[in-house]
């Protein structure tokens, strides 16, 4: 039937043709310009603190913003806390790109990207009085300071844990070989729980650094092609043994709680949540520093402020609050990580907490490889390392 208003098929073709023209025009405009921002100076940071704006929007890891310390913050400053929990660093970067948030608790594999993309501003540490007594080995680190400019306030640090179900995994493992060595891991086929993130490649690299010394791995985030391929190969061999890859804490908690997973990489948050549920999980004991013999990947997180934060004053209040000795102690004990604030060690409920978590031992942290963003340039002058895009692509092919 022919419509009174013309042939519908013809109209459709016209619309399509119009769209194609529109796209070509856009593409043409685009190809001339390319935008890479980055770098900054301390002058860009806020110079003077003003009155709070009444609210603050945060992106955080699970367990970092809990009512126990966010409610008192709201009462004290009048800044209402809106919190969004993210499961991976990629998610955090994505959320920050929206410009809807004031700040983020970024790990080292996000900070460099956030700075390079221009999503965050330098931080004027003079406006954060509690910063003075932050552990000095957390200040001015490559993951929170760029070209001499401070981009954030340390939150705390810890190592990723090897966790297992004490009923199923005996004797207690002391090495990552239970998940990484194909022969040992085969014993737990279908029960291994692995973090669903390219950072798992670094975990394999930590294992190889200890066991395949001929590869010469120094830093598990600075891998040349040969080292990288070895790590990827190891994870491809691990893949058939993996029961579940977890991308959010809730999935891993349910996996261990219902017995589908018995051993794998975890964070303190899930470990304590499972203990609370009465699941017989265990991790390397505190006296071993929670570390299997190879060491472990870990994190040292940084609160960063968004470039065009809508509530900068409240964000500064938050950054100062989170490292307030009492609050930082509470945060550290709740999550199970080493505090960033020296004085927090006097405020912990468990008087030995800082000793157990090695908060005051810089040497201990040399065996913890904080998450970093892998870059092509790993400091030898040649661009021969695998960059983060390579890591993401490899992670896709590992999972198959």
């Amino acid at each position: 039937m022919r419509s009174r208003y013309g042939n519908p098929a013809r109209t459709a073709w016209l619309v399509l043709a119009g769209l194609v023209v529109f796209m070509l025009v856009l593409a043409g405009c685009g190809s001339s310009s390319s935008d890479t921002t980055g770098g900054g100076s301390s002058e860009e940071a806020l110079q003077k603190l003003g009155k709070g704006e009444g609210e603050v929007s945060l992106i955080s890891w699970a367990g970092y913003v809990e009512p126990e310390w966010s409610k008192p913050f709201e009462q004290k400053t009048g800044c209402k806390v809106n919190n969004k929990v993210a499961g991976t660093s990629d998610e955090m970067v994505k959320l920050m790109s929206s410009g809807q948030y004031d700040g983020v608790s970024a790990s080292g594999n996000a900070t460099a990207r956030l700075v390079a993309a221009g999503y965050v501003s330098p931080v004027n540490t003079d406006l954060v009085p509690n910063y003075k007594t932050v552990f000095s080995d957390l200040k001015d680190q490559p993951y929170n300071t760029f070209e001499g400019v401070n981009y954030g306030i340390p939150h705390g640090r810890g190592a990723n844990l090897l966790m297992w179900n004490g009923n199923d995994v005996k004797p207690a493992p002391t090495s990552w070989n239970v998940t990484m060595d194909p022969k040992v891991a085969a014993k737990y086929k279908g029960k291994i729980s692995q973090y669903d993130d390219p950072m798992s490649i670094a975990e394999a690299a930590v294992y190889l650094k200890a066991h395949e010394t001929s590869l010469g791995i120094e830093n598990p985030y600075e891998l040349n092609e040969e080292q990288f391929n070895a790590a990827v190969e190891l994870l491809k061999e691990q893949q058939p043994n993996v029961g579940e890859y977890w991308g959010e804490a809730a999935k891993q908690i349910s996996g261990f709680a219902n017995g589908d997973n018995t051993v794998g990489t975890t964070w303190q948050y899930q470990y304590f949540a499972l203990k609370e549920e009465g699941v017989p999980v265990a991790a390397s004991p505190a006296k071993q520093g929670f570390l299997p013999e190879e060491g472990a990947t870990g994190w040292s997180d940084t609160w960063m402020i968004a470039k065009n934060a809508q509530h900068p004053n409240c964000m500064y209040e938050w950054m100062n609050w989170i490292i307030e000795p009492k609050v930082n102690a509470e945060v550290a004990e709740y999550f199970g990580e080493a505090p960033a604030q020296e004085k927090a060690c006097e405020e912990t409920k468990n008087p030995n907490f800082c000793a157990e978590y090695h908060a005051e031992e810089p040497d201990f942290w040399k065996r913890v490889y904080y998450w970093e963003t892998p870059l092509a340039d790993c400091g030898n002058g040649e661009e021969d390392c695998m960059d983060y895009n390579d890591w993401v692509k490899a992670w896709t092919s590992i999972k198959g």
């Binding site: 856009l26 993309a117 692509k393 198959g400």
Partner: protein
């Protein structure tokens, strides 16, 4: 004063009414301007931007899009076998789920349309709509518990020597089939409702067996409705990434898009074009099968 203002307003209204008087094209145009504008700018426009982004590249450090024309993303998709495998896995699952749902949905829809009493029909419609009222995520997490190694399926099947399939492709297939079943039942039900009972009686009067009646009368008349339902089940499976993430380790197209969206939008955009192309092909086939003629 007030009456002047009213007069002024009336005259504007009158002038507008006069403008539209007898101009059908203008009437229709004004009526459709909003929705069509939204469709073209908000919907097709963003699709167009997606398509362009697929031809750009990314700055490896910042993850920002660099607007340089390149075919690199498509080369990655075609040359790396893992992406082909993922696309094929997604399409295969979508087809399997569609067929499963069609087989389950047809008898239910037929019972609802032709057999059930008025009351039974109302109860069934409510029963089918009810699961749609609860959150998608709640349902998938519930399936996680059901499928787990000491979950309900294990408990049910263990006595007869079987076991839960556990997490994996079977689980994905089961959960998808469950989730999208209402979207298949309802169009088929609507299609069957429209077949007059007299046609079925006539077929019987002419001596056809029930099977022949089904094959020669009911199925041809309701087939477009099945195809219409299949568009839902197929496209919903094609675009989902949460179910595979929660009940398996398998990567679907959506998972890879999700993994790349923060760091490599151009590659994610190129991948996002795959379901669009698959869907266009599917719709063309559906049109050939007459899905758009009656429903």
């Amino acid at each position: 004063m007030a009456s002047e203002a009213v007069l002024e307003r009336r005259s504007v209204g009158h002038r507008l009414a006069g403008l539209f008087q007898g101009r059908r094209r203008l009437q229709v145009g004004a009526l459709l301007a909003g929705p069509v504008g939204w469709l073209v700018i908000g919907y097709l426009g963003s699709l167009a931007i997606l398509l362009i982004t697929a031809f750009w590249s990314v700055d490896p450090l910042s993850g920002l899009v660099v607007k340089n024309y390149t075919l690199e993303n498509f080369e990655t998709l075609f040359n790396e076998p893992v992406y082909r495998e993922i696309v094929w896995r997604t399409v295969r699952t979508a087809l399997l789920v569609t067929i499963t749902d069609a087989i389950i949905a047809f008898p239910i829809a037929f019972y609802m349309a032709k057999v059930a009493s008025r009351r039974g029909k109302a109860l069934l419609v409510v029963g089918i709509l009810l699961p749609l009222w609860s959150s998608y995520l709640v349902k998938v997490y519930a399936w996680r518990t059901i499928l787990s190694s000491d979950g309900m399926l294990h408990w049910l099947l263990n006595p007869i020597g079987l076991d839960t399939p556990g997490y994996g492709m079977t689980a994905v297939w089961l959960v998808f089939s469950y989730l999208w079943l209402p979207y298949m039942i309802l169009p088929i039900y609507a299609g069957l409702e429209r077949i007059p009972d007299s046609l079925i009686s006539a077929s019987e009067d002419l001596g056809a067996s029930p099977f022949t009646t089904f094959r020669r009368v009911i199925l041809p008349l309701s087939f477009p409705a099945v195809v219409a339902g299949s568009i839902f089940t197929f496209s919903l499976t094609l675009g989902d990434y949460i179910t595979p993430r929660l009940v398996s380790n398998e990567q679907f197209i959506g998972n890879v898009i999700f993994n790349n969206i923060a760091n490599n939008q151009p590659l994610a955009a190129a991948l996002a074009l795959v379901p669009i192309v698959v869907m266009i092909a599917y719709l063309l086939v559906a049109r050939k099968l007459g899905a758009f003629e009656h429903v």
